[in-house]
Symmetry: C2
Subunit: 241 residues, 2 copies
DNA sequence: TGCGCCATTTGATTTTGATCAAGTGCAAGC
DNA sequence: GCTTGCACTTGATCAAAATCAAATGGCGCA
């Protein structure tokens, strides 16, 4: 099943980009062949092992990235070490905060990942000249805002059980957007990360996993692999009626 | 002290806009005289009493707004009535979610307010033709995203005392951006609203107010008027070291 | 095979904030 | 001036989640 595209001749497009799965989902989809070539001159792909930091809170932003593969967590840290994950980004999301030089968050690979980096100033220049690109980034910002607000309801008003169920539901629906069957997946986060995402402790997360398992809402193998026999049931446990 | 402006001749600008305090801060600042005239043909100013709903969760968006005066709260409600305020908007913020027809949140006047409404389709058309306008909206979305993520840390990881102090600090720094002295202000929210903003109950909010008062971090008159003798001290109570 | 290292689970106890239940104070209306 | 209603405060008790403290269970490696 070939998908026809009316945009540009493939032959005009840089080789690496032609083979890039994110080209049609990420920011690059808003660029012309020349712009892609220009951006590609300065960009480089990059593997990230679990835990590798993309940028730290308070650091100067020199690169933006596109996530090619894996999951990246965005965290905020307090002076005394308390930590909150404020966003999870999945391929092919854009990673970066346009128009600010200092990062307000830490971005770090939650799983083994791959990103495509481009220098801040090159993309910034491109954005100024390409309204379609700014539109793309605007859409992404609005999507992240919607997600952040959804999560605020979870953090502020849900019980521990609802929080854990909400997290499982979120992962089920985001981890593999291509797949029709969302009922089996690997958790991209450790219990500690899940706790930081939900505003709970590891112990509470663990207990809620056990409880959901005993009530047959989920099955768990090897701590990371989850099966959901009834997605609607999980949704009800998450408080999303 | 007259402020010189290089943009456009005042005489080309609609009368109501010329007298509008929000014109230089809000979306309108990105528009040319003709565009302002065009938009103004379809826009109307509107008073909102405390509690008046601008738009309800799940409803179809027909208008965008600019807040001229007052504070608007954005809330999410669960099926069983639990409620979380996910954003506070102050004049001259833009109010609305571009590119989506259904609202994911309820927007409601937290104080007596005034807004300037324009039909969705008129502004949408204008955005398509005006990159500068999209840039403005993009900036606003990013600002709201930064604020949402700050608040996620507060909701997920701070104690009740830190939450209340954080709220007071937020209001002190947002209620009157013009004023140099932020140490005295009126709370724009009732205790119930504050509880919904902080993910707490009214009782807990009240107790924390009392505690902060007894420790001389704040003074309170008539339930709504707050004085902060030492802003840095309040900030430390908020956990922002 | 056994050791040590982690991440995770489980259990006992404590703490924080929620819930339930009266009060208080103030302003509007008769 | 008294009642009524509403927003807020205060107090007593309860429950959910945090904290403290051991287990348990892989997994890599000697």
């Amino acid at each position: 099943m070939e998908v026809r595209r009316q945009d540009i001749h493939n032959s005009d497009i840089p080789l690496v980009c032609r083979a890039c799965e994110a080209r049609h989902g990420g920011v690059c989809s808003a660029l012309s062949a020349e712009q892609l070539t220009e951006l590609n001159k300065h960009s480089f792909r990059h593997r990230l092992e679990t835990g590798a930091e993309v940028i730290g809170q308070g650091e100067t932003v020199v690169n933006y990235s596109n996530i090619m593969r894996g999951v990246v967590k965005l965290t905020k840290i307090m002076a005394d070490g308390r930590q909150q994950i404020v966003g999870l980004q999945f391929a092919p999301d854009f990673l970066g905060r346009p128009f600010l030089t200092e990062s307000a968050i830490t971005a770090e690979a939650a799983t083994d990942s791959e990103v495509c980096n481009f220098p801040r100033n090159v993309l910034d220049r491109l954005v100024k000249r390409t309204p379609e690109l700014e539109h793309m980034l605007h859409q992404q910002a609005l999507k992240e805002l919607d997600e952040a607000r959804d999560w605020m309801l979870t953090l502020g008003r849900k019980t521990a059980q609802e929080k854990v169920a909400s997290f499982l539901y979120l992962i089920a629906t985001h981890i593999d957007p291509e797949s029709v069957d969302m009922s089996a997946f690997d958790l991209p986060l450790s219990r500690a990360d899940i706790a930081d995402f939900l505003g709970l402790t590891i112990e509470t997360v663990s207990r809620q996993f056990t409880k959901l398992r005993k009530e047959n809402v989920i099955r768990i193998e090897n701590n990371r692999h989850v099966t959901v026999p009834d997605m609607d049931r999980l949704m009800r446990y998450a408080g999303n009626d």
